[in-house]
Structure formats: structure tokens, C-alpha cells
Amino acid sequence: MIEVKNIVKKFGAFAALDHVDLKVANGELLALLGPSGSGKTTLLRIIAGLDWPDAGEVSFDGENALAHGASERHVGFVFQHYALFRHMTVFENVAFGLRVQPRAIRKDEAAIRARVKELLDLVQLDWLSSRYPSQLSGGQRQRIALARALAIEPRILLLDEPFGALDAKVRKELRQWLRSLHHEINVTSIFVTHDQEEALEVANRVVVMDKGRIVQIGTPGDVYDNPATAFVHSFIGESIVLPVEVRDGCVELGGKPLNISADGVSSGASKLFVRRHDMAIGPAGSGAFEGAVRHVRTFGPIQRAEVALSAGEGTTVIEIDAPRDRELQPGDIVSLHPRRYRIFAGQD
């Protein structure tokens, strides 16, 4: 088990990590998700020993990891820009971790060759073993980087935005591949991403970070369906956000009461979050909002409609997703009701 306790890391006056606690169970595939500057990469580098915290503890299976440098922690690290050794062939890149082992435990040449072959088979690139990194595509480079990190049989695998430099299609393929690879070798893995879709699709558990703090830890379903804060709600999945006023348990938009419960949020300026597909369309007068359809686009199984809400003095335009079976035309007056929603107190 990896345990991170009360980690603080400052760069000048900027707190990159502000009292972070995290436990990662053996065999987990964990995503650290957050916008850039949220501290996720710094946390990963501290676990790897490539950076040092100003305060706090890091332990692997109860053993103090901070007593060792990166080269003694047996942590595999995969970098966003691959960081392959350009003057070495693919084979030598993967063999590197085996060749630099202390003489006492170093494998002989035949064993190294067998191990590298095995790893290249694992990442399905054994046919590239005599190429140089510059001759490979981005996706191939990242798989080689992964094979190289696995060569030392790491107790943890850390991946820093592993798919960040790849194009969308390759990224999608590699996500699925990483998940099945993890299933196969079952090494405890933490990967950093700013892409919520990636985190939700690949990880068993998602840690959402913001401004150097962990704001929520949960399964992908959890963080999507029950976001802990307004930040998590707006960061994960697309949401309709409306500035509302809570007054004695009633929710008002532009001074007009909406017929929904305030869910125990105390009075004051608040924000209402609704997923686009959670806005149900009903006959006029039946829902919380009234609005005029301005524009409809259809793609795939859904149609996306722009609806101008008439709320008090101004109008607010929102986008909703509706199933294709309900005919929508520009100019229609519709009533909208949120099937699910969250209200968070405060302006931001």
C-alpha cells in the first residue's frame, strides 16, 4: 500500500500541494485528475522520488520512501513526452533498467535478453526492437516507455499524462490497452491526467485535485453522479450552470421561484448544476423552467437544443440534450424539469 500523509510542497509562495493525504491499495489503477496547476504531477513526482516535499510522509507498505532517492524506490515512471534515450535502440532502452542494476543482482546477458523480449511481446512491439526512438510513432514510443518502466519490476507504476502528447484516436486505443494491460499484470498504478473522460474510462478510482488539495476521491461513477463540490461538478462532465438564489428552502432564478427543493442548502446566492441529459422536456407549464427553442442540432442518438430561458428580467441560453424521439423545432415553447440536479452554495 502506498500512503501519502500531510504532504506540503511550495514553489516560492505558491503552494503546489497543500496538506495532501492519499492511500492507494495494492493492485489499484488510480487516476489523479485535475486542471493544470492543481498539483497532480507534483504529487506523482514526489511519490517517485523525483521531487521532495517540504513536509509530510510517503510510505510504501509501511516503509518510509522518503529515505530513498528515485533510483532506489523501484518505481516505474512514464513521462508525457516519453523521455526515451534517443541514442539507444528500442531494445537497449528497455534493457537499461536491467543493465544499471548493481553487479550483485544484475542478470546475465541471456536473462536480460529474455526479459526484454518478454516485455516487448507484452507491449506487442517486439518487431521494433532494433529501431531508434526517432523512427517510431508517438503511440509506439509511449508503449516502449511503458515496457522500459516495467523492466525493473516496479512496485508501483506512475504515469504522468501518458497519452497527453498523442492524437485523439491513438489516445483512445491506448486507454483501453492500458486498462487491459493493468488487468493482466496487476501492478499498482497511478496515472495523472487532466482529461476527465480518460480518468473515468480507465481508472478504478479517481482522485480529483484542485489548487493543491484533494477535493474528492471515489469511483468514476461516484465522482460523476455525486460530485462533492461545484468545482468537481463543472470539471467532470459537462453541466448547465445557473446562478440561483436560495431563500428559505426555495430556489429562485432571476427572482422567479423554481419549483424544486433547495436540498438543504442554506439561504444565499448559489449555483444550480444540471447535466444536459438530465433536463426533461415536458408540456408547457409542467416544469421548473420555461423557454423557447432557438436552435436544434442532431447527431448520433441525441439532439442538442439551445433553449432561451425566460427567467425574470434577462434571458439565459442553455444547451440541453434530448432523445431523438421527441420532435423539437426552433420557436417551440418548452417546459424543462431537472431529473437530477445539485445546488452548491456560493458564487463559485
Binding site: V75, A83, G97
Partner: protein
């Protein structure tokens, strides 16, 4: 190929003009003088040419020029690498000044450098006096030539390797560390091999420059035939004796050597590029 002629327009105008100027300029400045040199040497029969080259004085001069230049380039390779490492990897007060000092041998008139080095290493000079007490004579000996060649060659190694070391991705060192490499392994297996192409290029440039160096060397060399007389000086001496054919014969040998060097540098650069393109 579309070169802008025959009514078809190249997207970038000016090909004809710039190509013409390039060819004319390179011909006038470089190719014609070199061709003249070769033509002049053809005035000699093969036997004469051979006997000039194999005369004791010529052989010694060539040996001194090439041998000491090679040794100086080796020293520059090692010291240049250390200087580059310090300038790029550490932050210390005066770093920018030291960085600028590296360029002095480029900018200083070679004669000035020669006079300064001679004064410094002469028997009563600041460095010459303590060395003389140890029984080491530098000025007016081959050692002086060696010192001057080191002086003029150092910026070539530093300026060739510096940008490569700056561009070297810090992440590859992190990667090496996370794979269990200690500092020594990281430097010897990852960083130095990445610098090899640039080091070789810098070495070849420093060597070529030292072979051809004249101005700074003749002041400090003493210029004793067979002992401390460099090939370029021998050419000048032959010219002043109106033995033009002798001069050109030596010059042709040096020219061919320079060509081979440039060729080698080009091959090295191409080899480096195929293995390690700049992303």
C-alpha cells in the same frame, strides 16, 4: 524541377538571382583560389612534388602542425566538455562573464593572442617564471605551440556542445534515475552518449583550426626548423624565398587534409541526425 524558368513561377521569387550570386561568390572567393593553388602545384613533376613533401623539414613541419593540433584538440575536447557542463548545469555568480570569456579567442586578433601568450609564458613571465623553476620551458618550444593551439581551439568545442547540452531533456535524467541508474550511470550511459556527435564535431573544428593557425603560434613558437616550425610558417618562408612551387606543394597537402576533415565533420553530423533528429 521547377526553378522559376520557362514561364513557370516558383512560389518563392528570387531563385535565379540568389543562386547566381551564390555560385559567383563562392567561385570567386573560394573555388578559384583553390583551383589556382592546385594548378600551381602541377608545375612540379611528381618526383619533385614527392621530394619536397618528404624532405626532412617539410615532414617535421607537418608532423608538428598536425600532431600538436591533434593533441590540443584532445585537451580542448576534455576541458571544453567540463566548461560546458559548468556553464550550462550550474548557476553561479559571474556565469555570464565566463560565458563571454569563452568567445575571446574567436574575437581577439591572433597576433595579439600570440604576443600575450608569449609574454605570459616567457622565462620572466607570470606563468613562465614559476614553470621555469620547475624546469619546464613553454615559450619558444613546441609546448608553446601546443598552448597557443589550445587557446584558439577552446571556443569551438564549447560553442558546439553548449546548445546540445542545453536542449538535452531533463526528463531523460529523471527517467534514468527512476530506472535505478545512479548518477555515474546516468552521466556515462545517457548524457555523454547524447553529446558524442556534438563533441566530435567540436573536436574536428578545433583540430582544423589549430592545424591552420598561424598568427598566435609564430610569436610563441621560436620557429626553429625541425623543432618548432609549423607548416603554415614553412609556406610563408618558402614564399619569401620565391620557391612558390615548394610553398604550393605543402599548401596542397594541408588543403587535402582540411577537405578530409570537413568531410569527416559532415559525415558525423549526418550520422548524428539520422540517429537523433531534433525531434
Amino acid at each position: 524541377m521547377n526553378n522559376g524558368g520557362a514561364g513557370r513561377r516558383n512560389t518563392l521569387p528570387g531563385f535565379g538571382l540568389t543562386m547566381g550570386l551564390t555560385l559567383t561568390w563562392l567561385s570567386v572567393i573560394i573555388l578559384i583560389p583553390l583551383a589556382g593553388l592546385f594548378l600551381k602545384s602541377f608545375e612540379l613533376s611528381l618526383d619533385q612534388f614527392w621530394s619536397i613533401l618528404t624532405s626532412r623539414r617539410t615532414l617535421n613541419a607537418l608532423k608538428i602542425s598536425f600532431g600538436l593540433a591533434f593533441a590540443a584538440a584532445i585537451v580542448n575536447l576534455v576541458m571544453g566538455l567540463i566548461i560546458v557542463w559548468a556553464l550550462v548545469r550550474y548557476r553561479f555568480p559571474g556565469r555570464r562573464i565566463f560565458d563571454a570569456i569563452v568567445d575571446i579567442p574567436f574575437a581577439l586578433p591572433t597576433a595579439v593572442a600570440g604576443v600575450a601568450l608569449t609574454a605570459l609564458f616567457a622565462e620572466k613571465g607570470w606563468l613562465g617564471a614559476p614553470l621555469a623553476e620547475l624546469g619546464i620551458k613553454v615559450a619558444f618550444t613546441p609546448a608553446g605551440i601546443f598552448v597557443a593551439m589550445i587557446f584558439i581551439g577552446i571556443p569551438f568545442v564549447v560553442r558546439t556542445v553548449q546548445p546540445v547540452l542545453i536542449d538535452l531533456d531533463a526528463e531523460i535524467e529523471d527517467a534514468a534515475a527512476s530506472l535505478g541508474a545512479n548518477r555515474w550511470n546516468t552521466v556515462s550511459r545517457v548524457i555523454l552518449p547524447s553529446l558524442v556527435p556534438a563533441l566530435l564535431t567540436g573536436f574536428a573544428l578545433a583540430f582544423a583550426r589549430a592545424v591552420g593557425e598561424y598568427g598566435s603560434v609564430i610569436f610563441i613558437a621560436g620557429n626553429l626548423p625541425n623543432v618548432s616550425e609549423i607548416a603554415p610558417l614553412l609556406i610563408v618562408i618558402r614564399l619569401s624565398e620565391f620557391r612558390y612551387a615548394d610553398a604550393t606543394a605543402i599548401a596542397v597537402v594541408m588543403l587535402v587534409a582540411s577537405f578530409l576533415l570537413i568531410f569527416a565533420v559532415n559525415r558525423l553530423q549526418r550520422w548524428a541526425q539520422t540517429r537523433m533528429p531534433a525531434h
